[in-house]
Structure formats: C-alpha cells, structure tokens
C-alpha cells in the first residue's frame, strides 16, 4: 500500500507529494526507533525460549515456529514446557488461549483506529499485535500524526519487533546463546510499562482502574496459567468504568 503510494508520489514529483513520501518514511522509521528499547528488553526472553526448545528436545523447527504462530512470549514458553511434558493437544491449546486472552482486549482497543482500512491491513496489523506493539501502538494513534502515518508508525514498530523476536528465538534454538543476566535487560519491559502508565493515566477513572489493576494483579499472581495480567486488566477496567458511570 505504502510502496505504491510512495512510487506514485515520486512520479508526480510535486513538492507536496515529495513531502508526504518523506513524512511517511519518517513515521515508519520513528515507529522502528520507538520499538528498539522494547526489543532490547524482550530479546533475552526470546533467547531463553529458544534455548528451552533445544534443551527440552522439541523438534527445533516446530519449537521456533511457535514464535511466528503463537507470537507471544509467555504463551510460547508455556506451550514449549507442555509439549515437552507430552501434554495433550487440548491442554496446550487451552493454556495458550487463556494466557493470550489479553490479546483480544488489545484487539478491541485497536479496532477503532483500524476501522475503514482494508482487510489485508487488518489481517497484518492484528497478526502483529502483542504487548510491545500494543504499547507503541497506543502512541502511534495518540492523535499526534495523520491517520496514514499513524498506521506506518505502528507498522514500523510491529515489524521490527517481529523480525527481532524471531531472530532471538532462532539464535537461542541454534546457538544456545543467552545474554549475560547481569545486564538485567528483562527490566526494560516493566520500566517502559511504568512510564506508559504514568503518562497515559490522565483521568480519575484511569487512575482508579490502574490502582485496582495493580492490586488485583498482585493477588491474581497466585492463579495458574499466567492468568494474573488478564484478571488484573478485567478488574481494573471494571473499576474504571464504574467511576465513569458515576454521575459527576
């Protein structure tokens, strides 16, 4: 879509078209740049998943392919462990589904931004949706850029994450390489999330929702199947929406 429009812009070579092509390129690269710190944060996790696939003796190509098929780290790690323990297909698929329930919430939150786009875009954009791309995606569509450039910003971020994630798992599977734990790069994810919470919780309803989500997620961390995040999100959204319903 963007390549065709960019080519047309070059052919017309009017200053306005050239500016728009440059702005498109800049939006895409800004998205890539916004993802780089998050990618550094999840890369150690991808390496660990790859090493686990090799260590547990799963077929390597199938274990790596969880990366592009399931494409969500915690669900992948659970699936690898269950497959290695010869769990039944139903248990593996049910566990992956429960752990990934939050993706449906991200999908619902992104739906308004992707209305009126063609099916191909929605297939690609939805396929690439996972925690880090949703995190950057909320900034892509924060209203600071035209719709088309917001799409390109999201696409740049989501694509670089996809490539980096599959590369990290591949390196883990084949080379058994991990990053030194002293770097503590796995902290980058939570640190980034805190910054996003602080900058995005602008209303009273959002702040109540955040507080309830934090407390619930701590308690719900005792639940199996990584249900903590999904339960925390559900409780936080419920609390926030109750605040919104209260007549002010």
């Amino acid at each position: 879509m963007s390549a065709i429009t960019a080519a047309r812009a070059r052919r017309e070579s009017s200053p306005a078209a050239a500016t728009s092509a440059a702005a498109d390129r800049r939006a895409f690269l800004d998205g890539v740049g916004a993802m780089v710190p998050l990618l550094l944060g999840v890369a150690p996790f991808g390496l660990v998943i790859g090493v686990t696939v090799a260590e547990l003796g799963l077929p390597r190509l199938a274990g790596w392919s969880l990366g592009w098929l399931v494409y969500a780290g915690s669900a992948q790690l659970a699936a690898v462990g269950l497959l290695a323990g010869s769990a039944s297909a139903a248990v593996v698929v049910a566990s992956v589904t429960v752990i990934n329930l939050r993706l449906a919430l991200y999908s619902a939150a992104m739906a308004p931004h992707w209305r009126g786009t063609n099916t191909a875009w929605r297939l690609v954009a939805a396929y690439l949706l996972v925690d880090p791309s949703f995190a950057v995606g909320t900034r892509s569509y924060d209203g600071s850029r035209p719709r088309r450039q917001a799409h390109l910003h999201y696409l740049g971020a989501a694509l670089v994450l996809w490539v980096g994630w599959l590369a990290a798992i591949g390196i883990g599977v084949t080379a058994g390489a991990t990053l030194p734990p002293e770097l503590r790069l796995e902290s980058v994810g939570p640190l980034y999330l805190v910054a996003l919470v602080v900058t995005s919780a602008r209303t009273a309803a959002a702040r109540v929702g955040v507080a309830v989500a934090v407390v619930t997620a701590v308690v719900a961390s005792l639940l199996p199947l990584h249900l903590g995040p999904a339960v925390g999100m559900g409780a936080g959204l419920l609390a926030g929406s109750l605040v919104l319903r209260r007549p002010s």
Binding site: P59, L66, L69, V70, Y71, L83, A89, V92, V93, V96, T97, N100, R102, L103, Y106, S107, A108, A109, A111, P112, W114, R115, R122, L123, A126, Y127, D131, A135, E182, R184, E186, S187, V188, G189, P190, L191, Y192, L193, V194, A195, V197, V198, T199, S200, A201, A205, A206, G209, A213, A217, V218, S221, H226, G228, P229, G232, G236, L237, S241, L244
Partner: protein
Amino acid sequence: MSTWTVVLLAGLASFALRLVPVLVLSRRSLPAWLDRVGPLTAPVAFAALGTSSVVGAASGGAGELLPLLAGVAVAGLVALRTRSTTWSVVAGLVTVWATAALVALAG
C-alpha cells in the same frame, strides 16, 4: 497428535484472539460501553502487565525484586516529571544496575 498439529492449532487460536475483535468491531458501530472504556484500556493493561512482571521477579528473591522495585519507582518519577518514556527507561535501568550492585555488596 504430532507436535506440528498442536503448534498450528495454538497458532490459530492466538490469531483468532487478535483478529476477531478487530473484524467484529469494525463492521458494526462500537457499543457504548466500549466507547467509554476504550481510553482506559491502555493504562490499565500496562499496569496489570507491569505488576505481573514485578511479582514474577519476586520469585528470584530480594536480589531480583529490590533492584526492579527501585527502578520502577525512579522510572515512574522521571515519567511524571519529563513525560519521556526514553528517559524513564534509561534512569530506571541505571537505578536497577546500581541497586543490584548495592544488594550484591550487602549480601
């Protein structure tokens, strides 16, 4: 069932979770409750996710938990002051390293 069949089914389920809400909500108008709750999704989701990773670090003992808690506190303060995610992460990570070094010295 072969490993590949299970991997494919798990992939299909994950794709459906991502895709179905986008397809359903783009065909009809948004239900009023979702329209209201929509802006809450991002902060609430990030709070629940971040909390879960901090709680997860607690299983690694004080040597894992304390640096992350200190880093999260500093990142939150920096975000409040600067509104910059980059500076928050940088300041938070430096705090994590410094606290980890202190914990190692003390232990």
